[in-house]
């Protein structure tokens, strides 16, 4: 990259301003704390989990919380606390890789076609519309059922399908910015095409893409846990909140702790991401409420 030192410093200064703005908002503070907590937990949980997550003990089956097993045991007699602590690892790993990839490829294509315009752009948008008109769950399940579950299939599938709506957003942002005065000014000053794209367009589109990425992350997590819940996500005995809720649901009337623990884990992470995304959007001056999920 050929970023000059001054623009690098500006970039650095901007990052600090945005961070300060995010942390000045209660939603940003709570959200970032939750997200950081979950990332740390995902990294450290193998060390702090009191029991082996796959250790089955038939005498403990569906036992209520006790001093040895703080959150009780599930239907196979496994320690719920250990499984809940580790239940976000797979989800964070998969969505943590797939989200940036999706934003990068969707953003790239979107900006490119936004700049090219014309017939090609029209055709691409029809294809994007067609993909968006199919529910996410249908598209994903068809691929997963065919190629099998597991990280190797889930990451590319999520990356592909969650990048498609990004195309639309990046294209719209490109159109929006291309028409602004400062781009005209740069053209009038005689800047080259590349320089206009790099110095005027990209920094502005990137703001939109960052917010988009944060929101995509939470939706992807939602999709991942829903897939696990339906039995198409991680394979047992890997601990995962979605799968744990699905397993424990049948015993809910007499062992509700098996459902409540993973529900708290999953909800706190998703709410954390959403609050952070909200604060980021506000700090960057992008109205998030206008968007509905796609």
């Amino acid at each position: 990259m050929t970023v000059s030192s001054t623009s690098h410093q500006q970039e650095h200064g901007r990052f600090i301003t945005v961070m300060k703005d995010i942390l000045a908002r209660p939603s940003g503070r709570i959200g970032l704390t939750l997200v950081l907590f979950h990332i740390l937990l995902a990294l450290l949980s193998p060390l702090i989990a009191p029991y082996d997550f796959k250790l089955q003990n038939s005498s403990l089956m569906l036992s209520p919380p006790s001093s040895e097993h703080w959150l009780g045991a599930d239907h196979l007699g496994r320690d719920i606390l250990s499984r809940t602590l580790m239940g976000g690892r797979e989800a964070l790993l998969v969505t943590g890789i797939a989200t940036p990839l999706a934003v990068i490829w969707g953003g790239f294509i979107g900006i490119l076609f936004g700049l090219v315009g014309g017939r090609v752009d029209e055709v691409l948008m029809r294809i994007v519309d067609a993909f968006l008109s199919l529910p996410w769950i249908l598209k994903m399940l068809v691929l997963i059922v065919t190629f099998g579950t597991g990280i190797g299939v889930l990451i590319p599938t999520l990356t592909f399908f969650y990048g498609i709506p990004v195309i639309r957003v990046a294209r719209a942002a490109t159109h929006d910015i291309i028409a602004r005065d400062f781009v005209w000014a740069a053209k009038a000053r005689g800047h080259s095409r590349i320089s206009i794209i790099w110095r005027e367009l990209l920094p502005n589109v990137l703001d939109t893409l960052m917010v988009e990425g944060a929101m995509r992350w939470s939706w992807m997590l939602l999709a991942f846990s829903s897939l696990s819940f339906l039995g198409f996500g991680v394979s047992p005995p890997t601990p995962d909140w979605g799968l744990m809720i699905s397993d424990a649901r049948g015993f809910m009337s007499f062992a509700p702790w098996g459902v409540i623990a993973p529900v708290i884990g999953l909800s706190s992470l998703i709410i954390g991401i959403n609050l952070s995304a909200d604060a980021l959007a506000k700090a960057l001056g992008i109205d998030r409420a206008q968007k509905a999920p796609m």
């Binding site: 294809i127 993909f131 008109s133 199919l134 059922v145 829903s226 809720i245 459902v259 709410i271 509905a292």
Partner: protein
């Protein structure tokens, strides 16, 4: 205006065509076909396989079969399921009816509630009603449907025993038999839907209330409520039409999970079952139906917005 209308309808039609092409091509590209699926372990028998492919007409070029499939789909004949005997339109028909029943009930409750809550929290921004409604909305929007559904079953059905937590009525039963079992899935669905629309309406009301013409009206001495109802709300609620459409379209996916949680015999559960059984003809048909619904809902929203907003109408005309 008329030109715009025709253009929109044609674009919608083009989208549906591309969808059907994607669906067909996607299923073609998957390894195996209806016959390897149907024969299962017997597919190693070349003779049986050849016979089956001949029976199902699989030897013809894909283009021919695509043409035949789309032709059938337009006239309402979706072909046969993977077992080669059941007609897809009969399987899908009941399920579609049940899903629509659930969706309409959820919309009938969710949309008015969302508009009301959105306006209230927009007008009383950052006060108690807004804080409560907005916090609830964040929970409803962010927490996965299966989590809110499970928690509601736990509280309303298991602990309090007010509503049945699972649907046991069969798919072909008349609509009236789904009460009261349908109430809990309906609550979850309208809860999620309500949250998205409410947030949108709230932000739109806040924008409009801060606009110049509302300030102008206030300065001219227009009474507060008259200003709200005559000047602010018509403008604030207009963008809601599109969000309602997007939310409905998004619910087509979300409803799948809810149907599985409550064992509700709708299109979503049929879809999951067909995907698991690799009943690809049924999957194709459901995909086509759902995509068409999506396109129609969006089209209706665009047209409604255009009709309701004179500014937009002329803007499009100038384009």
């Amino acid at each position: 205006m008329l030109f715009m209308l025709i253009r929109r309808v044609l674009l919608g039609g083009v989208t549906v065509c591309i969808v059907s092409l994607i669906i067909f091509a996607g299923v073609e590209m998957l390894p195996g076909d209806a016959c390897t699926q149907f024969l299962g372990e017997y597919q190693a028998d070349e003779e049986l396989l050849a016979q089956c492919r001949k029976d199902l007409d699989l030897n013809r070029p894909p283009i021919d079969r695509f043409a035949e499939w789309t032709q059938g789909a337009i006239t309402g004949d979706l072909g046969l399921a993977a077992d080669g005997t059941t007609k897809i339109s009969t399987i899908v028909g009941d399920r579609l009816k049940n899903s629509l029943l659930l969706a309409f009930l959820a919309m009938a409750v969710g949309i008015p509630l969302a508009l009301f809550l959105g306006v209230v929290s927009g007008l009383w921004r950052d006060r108690l009603p807004d804080i409560i409604a907005s916090t609830l909305a964040i929970f409803a929007m962010t927490i996965p449907e299966f989590v809110s559904a499970t928690l509601l079953i736990l509280v309303l059905s298991v602990w309090l025993g007010w509503l049945p937590g699972i649907v046991l009525t069969s798919a072909a039963a008349p609509a009236s038999e789904f009460f009261p079992e349908i109430l809990l899935p309906m609550i979850v669905l309208s809860f999620v839907m309500c949250a998205h629309i409410m947030r949108m309406v709230r932000s739109s009301v806040i924008d409009v209330m801060a606009s110049d013409y509302v300030q102008m009206a206030t300065l001219k001495g227009v009474p507060y409520w008259q200003m709200v109802f005559r000047h602010a709300l018509p403008n604030a609620l207009l963008p809601a039409i599109n969000v309602v459409a997007l939310t409905i379209a998004w619910l087509l996916g979300g409803v799948v999970v809810i149907e599985v949680v409550f064992n509700y015999p709708g299109l979503g559960r049929l879809m999951i079952d067909s995907i698991s059984d690799r009943n690809l003809p049924v999957v194709q048909s459901i995909a086509l139906i759902v995509a068409s619904v999506y396109v129609c809902v969006n089209l209706a929203a665009d047209l409604l917005t255009m009709i309701a907003n004179p500014k937009l109408r002329t803007m499009y005309m100038r384009k």
